[in-house]
Amino acid sequence: MGKEECKTMLDALNKVTACYRHLVIALGSTSDSQNLREELKRTRKKAQELAVANRTKLTSLLKDKSISKEDRAEYERLWVLFSSSMELLEVDMKRSLEIGQDFPLKVPTRHLIQTGMTGSTTTVAARAMSVQNMKYEADSNIDTADLRELQCEIGQVSQMLEEMEMKVQVAPWAVEAKQEAGAELKSNMSVGNSSVGVISICEEEPKEEDGGGGGQGSGLGSICAVLVFIVIVGVALVLGYLVINMS
């Protein structure tokens, strides 16, 4: 059905936007590199493809006059999701242009800020592109050529957003959210309300220097540890009994 397709595509766009945000934050810092610039380029190309696809789908759905009121409300909600994603993406793209211009890579001495980030962002980009491994093929003038392309793409995105606002008559403030406050604490969200899997609560938290929070996370871990301990003690008792019986 049209709705399910829309929802999966919006999910994908959402994922790509989130990954793009992560990549842009790393720009200009010590984890910046040629690879990062290429990852940014690929991610935003993918984002644009998804955006165009989403837009055509949603506009065709919304133009259909013969849909029921609930359906229309649902499509408006999806439209608001889509336009918020696009606005976020546009801002991030503009910011990446600014930072990219301020911190060029092809100069003899690079002035990248020592922020403490050292790892690479390959895995994030791989997640965005939904591939297992990223392959890099960029040539050496990634700086200038990439930035020019980026300006063009920003122009395209702005134009698309402008068209969207002019042509589609959706009042964003009239949409009611389906999630209530604190909904993110439950299992991972997708556009549809089905919960796919449960996140593990007790995973490794980045320990904060002030030691705040995170106390509850170790509860489940400690229960697991206690169970394992009991099992080991039981096995030891059984073995001991056997040993005593033997001798």
Partner: protein, 481 residues
């Protein structure tokens, strides 16, 4: 390539308003240079160690060497860097100062620098709070929880998007190295402490109303502007000047009289409402309070202008003048003020009444001004305008100042009110009480109620100020005899 979009700008043109940010940026880039900048070290957490951490002491020494100033100035400059968000403290993350000791700091990533021409939007903040909610499993700090609830109400139409984006960003973050995750979390937290500061955190961000100018852009001054600047400066030189001994003497006199009354220089009793959220100071100094505070009464003795400008003081002065039967000067002064500040349509009517009551020969409240001024005023009243009574008003004011004011200061009325005046004690709130005060702020008195009270006062004053009929008084006195 610029695209002129006709898209309605739903957000304001955000322009960081602080001029110095470009220069500060250059300084920061130099500071973090591996060869000539501040030496970084590693920070050891449980199993990971994160590089590029710097101590406050090192920063201060580096600034002293680079800018050739002393330690205090370097510390102030460093505090500015922290307050703008270029460097963030790791240990005491809410206190945005640079301590000249071994406390640890780290550089902020350029995405979160304040020079970015993008305002810290509410939707971004909502996404951040949702992510924090996931990480902290619902245990947000109280101010964060308040913001969260507020944003949930006002950004409700985008809430699905916010939740989805927050969970996706959280999951994407898990793909990175553990140390990078910690650093990213610290960076975001520092950014939002600067842009949405919790109570009593002093952030230096200043957005203010929208301006058409961009303060960070370079300005080219044209030839015509230079020409006009030159003319202006030449004319300034030709102005008549006051000797600096005279002007400085006046300044010194002003400062010595008013220094205890200035809320910046002296503590405000009982407590400054802007700092402690307790409005006892304002309720005690209202217009229609029975017993004024000692500071207020002392202020009345500085000059007649202070006495008249404070309406409570004016009331007191009126009581005194009534006893002395010389209230017509003050009444004329008030009437002239009303004419100056009143509506244009009521001016001719007011001018008529003023003439009949105060200036006509044989008027019930005739004021005693010299012949020349009287002649000018009467002539001007034929075609009344706002400032027609200016000369007479000044004369009357001087009369009051030179004669009545000093008698007032020595009078039993004034001495009485000096004795009765309150001297409130200073409040001494603990931080918990300050939080309590902040949450229980009252909206204050509604302006309509204040206006009604004022109308009542005016009616009473009008009734009480009905011109004392001299003949009736004399006949009463005769009858007593």
């Amino acid at each position: 390539m610029t695209i002129r979009t006709t898209r309605p700008q739903r957000d304001q043109h955000y322009r960081p308003r602080i001029h110095c940010l470009k220069k500060v940026e250059a300084l920061v880039v130099e500071m973090q240079d591996t060869k000539s900048g501040v030496k970084g070290s590693e920070q050891k957490l449980n199993v990971t160690s994160i590089p590029h951490v710097i101590t406050g002491k090192d920063i201060v020494t580096w600034i002293v060497n680079k800018m050739k100033n002393n330690t205090e100035e370097a510390q102030v400059l460093g505090t500015m860097l922290v307050a703008y968000g270029y460097i963030y403290p790791i240990q005491n993350h809410k206190k945005l100062v640079l301590c000249n000791d071994a406390s640890l700091y780290r550089f902020q990533t350029p995405y979160f620098w304040p020079t970015q021409r993008w305002a810290a939007e509410d939707s971004d903040y909502a996404i951040y709070l949702a992510k924090r909610n996931i990480r902290k499993k619902g245990q947000l700090e109280p101010y964060e929880q308040a913001h969260y609830n507020h944003l949930h109400k006002w950004l409700n139409h985008k809430w699905d998007f916010i939740v989805m984006q927050a969970s996706e960003q959280h999951k994407a973050g898990k793909e990175r190295l553990k140390s990078d995750r910690v650093v990213l979390d610290c960076q975001e937290r520092a950014y939002w402490i600067i842009n949405r500061p919790p109570r009593r955190t002093h952030s230096a961000m200043d957005t203010g109303p929208e301006r058409l100018l961009d303060p960070s852009s370079d300005e080219k001054i044209t030839f015509d502007q230079y020409r006009r600047m030159n003319i202006f400066y030449q004319q300034t030189i030709m102005r008549s000047r006051v000797k600096s001994s005279v002007s400085l003497g006046a300044l010194v006199k002003y400062v010595t009289t008013y220094k205890n009354h200035d809320p910046f220089l002296a503590p405000c009793l009982p407590s400054n409402p802007w700092q402690t959220d307790n409005d006892a100071y304002w309720t005690m100094n209202m217009r229609s309070v029975d017993v004024p505070t000692k500071m207020r009464v002392e202020r009345w003795s500085f000059s007649l202008y202070e006495l008249l400008v404070d309406l409570r003081g004016r009331d007191d002065f009126k009581i005194f003048l009534k006893k002395e039967f010389s209230g017509e000067n003050l009444a004329f002064w008030e009437a002239a003020e009303e004419l100056k500040w009143g509506t244009a349509s009521s001016m001719s009517a007011k001018a008529e009444t003023i003439f009949k009551t105060f200036l006509a020969p044989g008027a019930p409240r005739w004021i005693n001004i010299d012949g020349r001024t009287m002649g000018l005023t009467v002539k001007g009243l034929e075609h009344p305008h706002r400032y027609v009574l200016e000369a007479a008003q000044t004369h009357v004011f001087l009369l009051m100042k030179k004669d009545t004011f000093f008698r007032y200061l020595k009078s039993p009325t004034y001495k009485d009110i000096q004795k009765k005046a309150l001297s409130p004690e200073a409040h001494n709130f603990s931080p918990a009480q300050l939080e309590q005060n902040a949450q229980n702020r009252s909206p204050g008195i509604h302006p309509i109620i204040l206006w009604q009270q004022e109308e009542v006062e005016k009616a009473k004053a009008a009734a009480a100020a009905a011109p004392i009929d001299v003949k009736a008084m004399m006949s009463k006195v005769d009858r007593k005899k």
